[in-house]
């Protein structure tokens, strides 16, 4: 075990190299985009929503460009919730990039409401820092709860193709329209905690 001064030198070097994320200290070559992280670990947010069959439930995944060179987003697919969640995977039907730092935590309908400005995700060029990628999922069967763990996003950077994982739990509970406004209806959010825990595990948080 190195002595304390040696430890500090290693840590200082890591910090100086911008590697405080802890997850990128010496691994295989990676593209410049990462999922949102805090303290070196992924941030896993979660949203849930009741919706009518076929309606879009909108959630947001977050990526960070570590460089000042733009990357071009190309496509994305949803990540199923592993570990035998027992819930079907939501079908991805919309993708966009937020233009005003605002996004649906759990929104319904498309395009997103509430003053959120968007542009299509495909071929969007994203620069340094955080980009909010808004996605809409749906399901068609009444009383089924559709879940996703996040997005797998493919992008181009300096002629190379890369992909990045952005964890973001989405739970879309399909209910008859007549029940959507009944406060006494069992909350969809109760499912979210269980799915969130599973996705935390997938992301290496537990």
């Amino acid at each position: 075990m190195p002595d304390r001064s040696t430890r500090r030198r290693y840590v200082a070097a890591a910090v100086a190299a911008g590697l405080t994320g802890l997850c990128d200290c010496g691994g295989a070559a990676q593209g410049p985009l990462t999922g949102l992280a805090s303290g070196g670990l992924p941030v896993v947010d979660a949203g849930s929503l009741q919706l009518a069959p076929g309606q879009s439930a909108d959630f947001t995944a977050f990526v960070v460009n570590k460089t000042h060179t733009p990357a071009t987003l190309m496509s994305a697919s949803v990540i199923p919730v592993g570990g035998g969640s027992g819930y079907p995977t939501g079908r991805l039907i919309h993708l966009a990039v937020s233009l005003n730092k605002s996004f649906p935590g759990a929104g319904s309908g498309w395009p997103p409401s509430g003053g959120i400005k968007v542009e299509p995700m495909r071929e969007a060029k994203i620069g340094f820092g955080q980009t909010d990628i808004i996605f809409g999922i749906t399901g068609k069967t009444l009383f089924r709860d559709y879940v996703v763990a996040g997005l797998r996003i493919t992008y181009l950077f300096q002629g190379q193709s890369y992909s990045v994982t952005a964890w973001s739990v989405g739970v879309a509970c399909v209910r008859p329209a007549r029940l959507l406004r009944r406060a006494s209806h069992p909350s969809c959010s109760a499912i979210t905690g269980r799915i969130h825990s599973k996705v935390d595990h997938m992301a290496g948080l537990s």
């Binding site: 691994g27 295989a28 509430g114 190379q160 193709s161 992909s163 994982t165």
Partner: protein, 207 residues
Amino acid sequence: MATRSASPPTTTTKGARPQWTQTTGSVGHLHGRVGVVNVGISNTASSGYAESTLTAQASNSIGTDSGYTSGPGETLLYADGHMYYQQYESNGADRCPPWLFKTQVDHAAGDSFPGTIPPSANPYLGCHGFDPNGYATVSGNQGSFTSDRAQAYTEGAGFTFFALSLGATTGFTSDIHHDYENNTGGNEYVCGNAPMPDVPILYSGSV
């Protein structure tokens, strides 16, 4: 975590990730250290959240959820709860230094109760159109949004175990769940003192 491929379709390679070994206690047992943390929800007076439909929780995604529900007309809601923390040491996997440490909420005791030290109110007065850091919308009809911050406090070398700010005097705690559920019929908004969702302090309201 990013992966790389030469050309589409992509292939996946495992990225570098430190693994962590506990240095105190064991998961699932009441070892480590315990602290009281608080979570709060700062509403505008007109927020539908204040109509006895809101639950404040001091919890994390690993442990037991608990909470209590606000009373009618409350505009500033907060809860305290006991959290158990563990310290972990990196095992140096994937060439990461093995002598980094983190402290993380291991589980919640599930004993949330009304808080005694209220967090501060939203300094922006509202989210939608007010907060320069942007906001998240939460749709009506029981839409919910959670920003899970039950994550590690990384300490590095020369660590001080449990060097955590537990939020007792600084407002909302930053390392536990903030879980918003909207039981109104319209949009509600969640914002914070930095770009969402990785925000130490969260606020909410109907504007």
